[in-house]
Amino acid sequence: MSHLRARGLRKSYGDLEVVAGIDLELKPGECFGLLGPNGAGKTTTLRLCLGLIEPDGGAIDLFSLPVPARAREARQRIGVVPQHDNIDPDFTVEENLLVYGRYFDLKESEIRARIPSLLEFAGLNGRARSRIHTLSGGMKRRLTLARALVNDPDLIFLDEPTTGLDPQARHLIWERLGRLLRQGKTIFLTTHFMDEAERLCRRLAIMDRGRIIVEGAPRELIRAHIEPQVVEVYGDGAERWATEFGRARSERCEHTGETVFCYTHDAGLLVQNLESREDLRYLHRHANLEDVFLKLTGRELRD
């Protein structure tokens, strides 16, 4: 039995088809990542799954309840971490959790009993009575996560949970999400950070212009869609080097700004040649999810 299942989901705004026929399925206990550039339709997909907007086509089930018809009941078992923090600035940390718990029809005593462990989870011990404006960005994010757990949900939706956080704060969030997965929670994550997706998700889908272009385990996707080795070459002469030497000796070569990316199964010759070039800097590495992402969604900016 799956927690979430969507078939042929569609949503248009005017002439723009923001979600153009996608299928999704989330099994209990898995972490599924929806990746895509800005404007790919990730947030719209999440809002459709939560039953906040009416799809133009397709069917959604959350915990076997039809969405949006019975979405409200289904949300009883769901926690949501939205893209932009919307914790209540008029309340303390503790009051935020208390008031949010009421929206789930939880008893006051029940919520109060949960607050200490939620604060511990969020690394906000001793902050129960702090006002929101005294919290750092990372703390606010963690409070939003704790708030999403107030109803002990089975499924947690996270919309770009670490956007705008510093590395320390991001790692702490990742560690906590790992803990939730070990407790058996199911996670539906959207992100445009490839390392985040690679680290957390057992399965992911890359979405662009409303469609899912590929889906699978991170390693599989890398294996299936990209050459295993990458040589990045930087500097003024990089482009000429590529024309004269690199392009012919790699399977694929891409060029953006002052950087050349050479994709290959065997980087031996490239590295040997670059060793002798004092004027060029280079990096030899394994292909990663970001390479797959850029190959499939292109390098041009999305605003």
Binding site: I53, R72, V99, F104
Partner: protein, 261 residues
């Protein structure tokens, strides 16, 4: 606008969670909030009532200050409900995204809006009651019938809260509310019998005033505070209920269009 946006409201007791959320915020600022609510109407009532009233003989068969007190109970309710539904409502909807957070939980937007309307009406009852208490203390009420002003004030608050929520639903910013105050609230303040009897106005203006909600609130509150049962009470009440119901429905579908897209 989709068919779903036009659906009739579906309410549940969960709207009380929203009401309680707002009440908890209010509790922290209760004293300054009450003083602010009281200062303005009291200045009108005492300044105009005794100052201007000293130069007038009876107005509408009662001392001017008593006449004015019943009008101010209603206008103060109108102001309080409108401010809460617009400025505070807009903060929660647009600036703080509080409503977005709530509808991610198992609470529908219908209940959020009902909670907001009932909350704004409740808060306006406090404003109306504060003026009523002062009026009673000054001996400007005549009998226990004045207690019936409480439900009248609540219904008035609900009508103005719902009208304010329409503005909130379509507003791009706080500045927008000035139009509503200039074009709707101020004219009602002046034309609906708060400061002087409606009959003093030219016929055409009277006709306009007859369809405005504040006129009907005053028509109920004034006799009640004077110790008599209002004429056509059912009609006046029906107008207030209609304003509340129609405005609430409009506010709801505009808010659905704004947030559920």
């Amino acid at each position: 606008m989709t068919a779903k946006h036009l659906a009739l409201p579906a309410f549940s007791l969960r709207h009380l969670h929203v009401w309680r959320r707002n009440a908890l915020v209010w509790r922290k600022l209760a004293i300054p909030s009450m003083l602010g609510n009281l200062a303005d109407p009291l200045l009108y009532m005492l300044g105009l009532g005794y100052g201007l009233g000293a130069m007038l003989s009876d107005v509408g068969g009662m001392p001017y200050v008593a006449f004015l007190a019943s009008g101010i109970v209603c206008s103060s309710t109108m102001m309080s409900a409108s401010f809460e539904a617009m400025y505070s409502g807009f903060s929660r909807m647009h600036v703080q995204k509080t409503w977005d957070a709530i509808i991610n939980a198992p609470v529908t937007l219908d209940d959020v809006l009902l909670g907001e309307a009932v909350w704004a009406a409740s808060k306006s009852v406090l404003s109306g009651m504060a003026v009523l208490l002062v009026a009673a203390a000054l001996g400007l009420t005549q009998s226990a019938l004045a207690l019936w002003v409480i439900p009248v004030v609540f219904m008035t608050g609900l009508a103005f809260a719902s009208m304010g929520l329409i503005m909130t639903a379509v507003s791009p910013s706080y500045d927008f509310f000035m139009y509503y105050f200039t074009l709707a609230i101020t004219p009602m303040m002046l034309l609906c019998g708060v400061f002087f009897p409606l009959e003093r106005l030219p016929g055409a203006v009277q006709a306009v005033a007859q369809v405005l909600p504040l006129t009907h609130a005053v028509a109920l509150a004034r006799p009640l505070m004077q110790g008599s049962v209002p004429a056509d009470a059912a009609l006046h009440l029906a107008v207030l209920v209609a304003y509340a119901a129609v405005s609430f429905y409009l506010a709801l579908l505009l808010t659905r269009r704004r947030l559920l897209k």
